[in-house]
Symmetry: D3
Subunit: 69 residues, 6 copies
């Protein structure tokens, strides 16, 4: 599937923390930066996410804020 | 200000496209990947964003989806 | 690509309204209900969306509110 | 209350999964498609959601992504 | 309609700025604080929003970030 | 850091409810209105949020819906 989302960053799962409803997925990007995603536990299981899984972190442009120092 | 947002990526503005209400801001991350942000035109002006501005792309973890091949 | 998003509804583009930065895409679901999506103009062009295009409307579960009468 | 949200789909609750903070609500749309919503446990309790409750799934247009095959 | 959204703040429209696709609506809260909302132009017209309209600003709890000094 | 977010409301933490993955933070605004935020447990801990903490509730304008009676 091709997506309208403008931000699709390739990375590798570093850690999955599972709750009753949601899971927290920590993704390591090339270069060492990290992204954190909260998805449903059902989705994390359905995608079989675990340490080392190759994934894309996907963000809609309207969900990206900007900050400056 | 220190933020709850888990995803704060440093980059440099590559391009700003301005509409009547919103602006599209393209941010170049170190390593060459790009992120796109939609913010209000008023915010883009208030932050004085232009090509070369040093910025942070900020994303709340609940707004990060995951995809796999 | 397989997505974590829990809501993926198949439909057909009914109308695209294009602004300077964003496009509004009206999608007709089977049965006649409609969904409206706002994506960047660049995404709408990149997906070549036009009346009749077959698309998926994709929504992260954390972005679905619930109302009752 | 009349809402600005462009996407208001009527359905029936199929299942509620309750965590410490959030609840997952699965909604069956007419025709058999399903939508999943994550709301706070407090909201799910306040709306007295349970299997069979008639509800609306509400999504802001800016939270609808588009995908194509 | 009763909503799952945890944040429903009453206010009065101070200004509407209209673009091709979206409208920016500035809302004055009691006490003088302001909130800004971006909704589709179609929604702003359908709700007949104009200076002085009494409205609710509605935000899903998962869309509220927290910052500290 | 200066943010693009248009909605930054000062308040005081009234209550923190902690789950396995997320925390619910109830914020009291001056005047007595309340806002509820869901952030990751890790963020709540990293910001050391507890009853009485002075915080800002931050909302991107594109995440504010509007309702009328």
């Amino acid at each position: 599937m091709k997506l309208s989302a403008r931000n699709v960053l390739k990375g590798k799962v570093k850690k999955v923390v599972t709750g009753a409803v949601n899971s927290e997925v920590i993704i390591e990007l090339p270069g060492g930066a990290e992204m954190t995603s909260i998805i449903t536990k059902t989705s994390a299981e359905s995608l079989k996410l675990k340490e080392g899984s190759e994934v894309y972190a996907i963000v809609k442009a309207s969900n990206v804020m900007i900050g400056i120092d």
